[in-house]
Amino acid sequence: MPQAIEPMGTASTDQTAAALLPHLATAPRRSGLIAMLGRAGNAFWRVPRESNYAKVGLIIYLIFALTAIFADQLVHYEPLEILFADNYQLRRNLPPTTDHWLGTSYSGRDIYSQLVMGTRSALAVGLTAAICVVAIGTLVGLVAGYFGGWIDNLLMRLADIALGIPFLPFVIVLASFMGAAQSNVVLGIALLLWPNSARVIRSQVMSLRERAFIEAARVTGAGKWRILFVHIAPNVLALSFLYTSVAVGWAILTEASVSFLGFGPSDTVSWGYMLQDAYASQALGRGQYNWFIPPGLCIVFVVMAGFFISRGYEEVLFPKLKG
């Protein structure tokens, strides 16, 4: 189905993965939730050992995560603090020095400190948005796939609608409607990006529900919801994780674009904010590569890491694609 291709174009192979999943899902035995989670956990650790992509991706994530956690210790200045020299003049547009590793901005702020603090808001936006997207997607996928019928129909039509709304323009309008805050960007992402994961998870659930072990659970008298969340849900967790790692990247890219266009909050330092500041302050004409290259590279690395991880998981868990 063409809809299964991510319209925003992420990992190319997702759609094929969806097609292959029914055969690949490791014929799960009848077992409890803990065992299921345990198996998911094993898969989680097995992947980075077997795939270089996942390994590199996770290492990049780890570096950024550590940076975010220890940001307060790593920065040299308050990221929004306006710095002055002894003669009351602004310390503006300084080239990189030992004092200012990446120089200072036009408004006299330390670029390195902004970059470090930006990690925090990037990961905050990326992770919350990704969790929202995948939580909605997984839930919708589970319910639609398991119950089928009119519920399935309704949910999938909702997915059609969400996919019919231009993504970035919608987030911009939403941000200007609800106010320039990162939570509104997250909301916009969550509202529109869930259908991709929902569709793939739905198709896997549809095949899982016909399996023998589900039938067995049903015979033993397990309720619908119990079957759905205890027996089926753990089997789609790996897939959810795959989508989370990609959605983190999308969220960060989107937040950066929205901030860049001037619809982001002006009191939170993010990489998008830095790039917007650089663009508006003529860093391009001044050739201040030390200002506008680093935030861009950070975005590239963290988004790429998400792609790498998702690719690694596909390779290991759905090996037919490895080719």
Binding site: Y77, E81, I82, L83, F84, A85, D86, Y88, Q89, L90, R91, R92, D99, H100, Y106, S107, G108, G262, S266, Q276, D277, A280, S281, Q282, L284, G285, R286
Partner: protein
């Protein structure tokens, strides 16, 4: 080793600390003091006006040392208007600006409009400053035709504002214009006080040196109209003044001089002007400019709902009469010192045969502002050619009495500041008329390229912070003075405006040297001064937080 603002403000911060320590026993004695609320300082968004935003942040930092909790909120222009201009009762402090325009080379516009109590409700006095003494002076200066006597009144108006500080004047920005010396003969440009080289006289006088006979200028905002009854922004007003003539124009000395009129003569009382029009004027569609067109142009904005922006300028007129084919009179109820500048030099002469039917066809709720007259016929030295998304093209009228030396004026819309500078360098633009970026970069470009010349001028307009004088504690002049004196203008000019601005403390700019009251420049500055003033007025700083005098409570 670097110095942060905290360190260099350290002296003042310790002053605040001492003050707050000194305030503790006071507070212990009088338990009734209540703290001043947290404030939001509105500004244009950082992307749209980085200098203003930065100034706001510096002010917030300085006021923080006086025990105020100030958050800067950057908004797009429309939201800012909505918060400050249309809902006048609910904001506290906001950054704002008044821009220079040719007719503001007479101080009347700013002096009568900004602080007169009649304008509190919906006019220019959005800060709600009310002082009967000021009203009296502002009204009086209008009626005095003698320049020296009027000067004394204008000085007095400035003194009153200085004493009451309804605004914290920050800077008169230095505007930078640049042009290509390889294209234009620089001796032919006219430098007008307060306006610089970008003015009507320059556009008609500037002589091209070689084959490039197009004057290509830029504007940094999109235009939304080119209409003789409407000023929607800076860019379109530059176009309208080229397309439509006026009865008088502001000359190089900043004073009005007859333009489409041969002469403008006043009776002794200064209430009746006799205007003789030139006999060589015609509209761009070939029709002659008649006395009737002049009268129509001055009369039509008086009608309700035709041209709200121009109505105040023609309101002083009580009667007009055609004497013969070249002469008419304009009668005023009382003498008006600014009439020539703000009316005769401002109102566009429009063809009655085109606009009379258009105005008659207006439906309820519509003004002439919303009329699209595609041909845009005027009688000025340039006629309208075309206007699309990215540029406006005007071409010179060779047989105009003041025919321009260039063939065309092209105004290009360049939203990105960096791109406009790049286009000047590459020669795509030869007259940089709207540069809002880093002035240093423009200087650097001129230093690197012999054919780029930069001309700076101090603006008639100014940047300021407005107090909402309706709301406590800003209804107290002592508080306004203290908060104003806490701000180091030199620091603002240097740090926020990159040195390209002159510290300000008056609503009349030094760009108008005859009217400017230099005595306003002497003002005390410093956190200690401000703290002392606040304490004298009964305010106290307790635990680093500013408190009202005993007995006063927070109203908001």
């Amino acid at each position: 080793m670097s110095t942060t603002r905290r360190q260099f403000l350290g002296t003042s911060a310790s002053a605040a600390l001492i003050a707050s320590l000194a305030g503790v026993p006071k507070a212990a004695l009088a338990q009734s003091v209540s703290p001043v609320r947290a404030l939001t300082l509105y500004s244009r968004a950082q992307a749209a006006n980085p200098q203003q935003y930065q100034a706001a942040e510096l002010i917030a930092q300085a006021w923080g040392d006086l025990g105020l909790d100030v958050t800067v909120s950057g908004l797009p222009q429309n939201q800012l208007s909505d918060v400050v201009w249309y809902n006048r009762d609910s904001w506290d402090v906001s950054m704002w600006q008044m821009v220079g325009r040719p007719e503001r080379s007479d101080p009347d516009d700013f002096v009568s409009n900004l602080f007169h109590s009649a304008n509190i409700e919906s006019g220019y006095n959005f800060v709600g400053y009310s002082n009967p003494e000021y009203d009296r002076v502002a009204e009086a200066q209008r009626l005095v035709v003698d320049r020296d006597a009027r000067q004394a009144l204008i000085y007095e108006a400035q003194d009153i504002v200085n004493a009451d500080q309804p605004y914290v004047f920050l800077v008169y920005p230095t505007k930078s214009y640049a042009y290509n010396t390889a294209v234009f003969d620089d001796t032919t440009l006219v430098n007008q006080p307060g306006l610089g080289i970008k003015n009507f006289l320059s556009f008609i006088a500037v002589e091209p040196k070689g084959d490039q006979k197009d004057l290509i200028m830029n504007v940094s905002n999109e235009l939304n109209a080119i209409n003789p009854y409407y000023i929607s922004g800076a860019g379109d007003s530059w176009m309208t003044e080229l397309i439509w003539d006026r009865i008088m124009r502001i000359d190089a000395d900043g004073l009005p001089t007859p333009w489409a009129a041969e002469s403008v003569t006043w009776n002794d009382e200064g209430t009746l002007a006799t205007i003789v029009i030139r006999d060589d004027l015609s509209f761009h569609d070939g029709m002659p400019v008649r006395v009737e067109d002049m009268i129509f142009s001055l009369e039509s904005p008086q009608r309700a709902g035709v041209a709200p922006m121009y109505k105040p300028f023609v309101d002083p007129i009580v009667a007009m009469e055609k004497l013969d084919d070249r002469t008419f009179t304009v009668e005023l109820a009382q003498p008006n010192a600014a009439f020539e500048t703000s009316t005769l030099s401002k109102v566009n002469i429009v063809p009655e045969h085109i606009w009379a039917p258009l105005l008659d066809a207006l439906v309820e709720g519509e003004t002439a502002e919303s009329v699209l007259e595609d041909s845009r016929v005027g009688s000025g030295p340039f006629k309208f050619d075309r206007w699309n998304q990215s540029e406006v093209v005007l071409s010179a009228i060779p047989d105009h009495f003041a025919a321009a030396k260039v063939d065309r004026v092209i105004m290009r819309v360049v939203l990105n500041v960096e791109a406009s500078l790049g286009m000047l360098r590459s020669g795509e633009l030869n007259f940089l008329t709207d540069y809002t970026g880093d002035p240093q970069l423009l200087k650097d470009a001129a230093d690197a390229d012999d054919s780029i010349a930069v001309v700076d001028v101090t603006d008639i307009g100014f940047q300021f912070l407005g107090f909402n004088c309706r709301r406590a504690p800003f209804d107290d002049p002592a508080v306004r003075r203290a908060l104003s004196f806490a701000i180091n203008r030199r620091l603002i000019a240097g740090a926020a405006y990159n040195g390209f601005g002159r510290p300000a403390n008056s609503h009349v700019s030094p760009a108008l040297p005859f009217w400017y009251n230099a005595a306003t420049e002497e003002l005390p500055v410093g956190i200690d001064v401000a703290t002392a003033m606040l304490e004298d007025a009964g305010y106290s700083i307790v635990d680093g937080q500013l408190h009202y005098p005993a007995g006063m409570t927070e109203q908001y």
